[in-house]
């Protein structure tokens, strides 16, 4: 491809704050950052397991501290991000791996709904198993 003159072109620069320009971009960044909150939660949970390994006393000191309003708020916030992750994940999965029934792709919303139903079922099972232990 022959182009005559590149020297007169104006090259726009993308500002680092591009994700503030559009609501959809912002939601994208929120989705990506949800992974950070989830990871933070998992690290906290790891600490809990570590304390469990240190004995009953250490463990109960730690679990008692989780009752403080700060940690409750932390968990609530992480939960919001985690749920956001789940919902967006199920929707994107419907795009990445199209579900075909009888040769036809089923609507993405329907596939997302199926995924969400499965998610609720899995959560119920985990909840139930924990209660039954």
């Amino acid at each position: 491809m022959i182009r005559p003159d590149k020297s007169l072109l104006y090259y726009p620069r993308m500002p680092a704050t591009w994700w503030l320009r559009k609501w959809s971009y912002f939601l994208f960044i929120v989705r990506e950052f949800s992974s950070l909150f989830i990871a933070a939660y998992l690290v906290l949970f790891l600490v809990q397991l570590y304390q469990l390994g240190n004995g009953a006393a250490a463990y109960s000191t730690f679990t008692n501290s989780l009752k403080s309003p700060g940690w409750i708020v932390f968990h609530a916030v992480v939960l919001v991000f985690a749920v956001y992750h789940s919902v967006t994940w199920f929707y994107t999965t419907s795009i990445v791996i199209p579900l075909r029934i009888g040769g036809k792709e089923i609507p993405r919303a329907a596939f997302t709904a199926i995924n969400i139903a499965a998610w609720i079922a899995v959560s119920a099972v985990v909840f139930g198993l924990y209660l039954l232990q």
Partner: protein, 116 residues
């Protein structure tokens, strides 16, 4: 601009992406209920704590997957997010922090679970 023929290098990105995907699935299905159970319900006293459950070996295997996989999910997303928002010149150190962090997290998780 890249030329017509790209080097036939064995990119490792499919591996990271595979781990990221697996982690995303685990996180999507399991993290919310765990937060509800252990982060809210138990501390708020709605249900009683049951630490003994963590001692079963199959729960340990479950927890290993539950914790380690989403760490790769985080690593992959965070690495790209930071470069998307303008830190692409620091790609190398960021990749050490993220993917390296996830790998270290995997080892630590295994160690913590084994000493339970």
């Amino acid at each position: 601009m890249m030329g017509e023929a790209l080097p036939n290098k064995k990119s490792i990105e499919p591996l990271w992406w595979g781990l990221f995907s697996a982690g995303g699935v685990v996180a999507a299905f399991l993290v919310p209920i765990h937060i509800v159970l252990l982060g809210l319900a138990v501390p708020l006293g709605w249900i009683s704590d049951a630490p003994d459950i963590f001692g079963h070996w199959f729960v340990k295997v479950y927890l290993f997957v539950f914790i380690a996989m989403p760490l790769y999910h985080w690593a992959h997303r965070f690495y790209f997010t930071l470069s998307d928002i303008g830190l692409k010149s620091f790609r190398k150190p960021i990749s050490f922090l993220t993917y390296g962090g996830a790998m270290m997290g995997t080892v630590i998780t295994a160690w913590i679970l084994l000493r339970l």
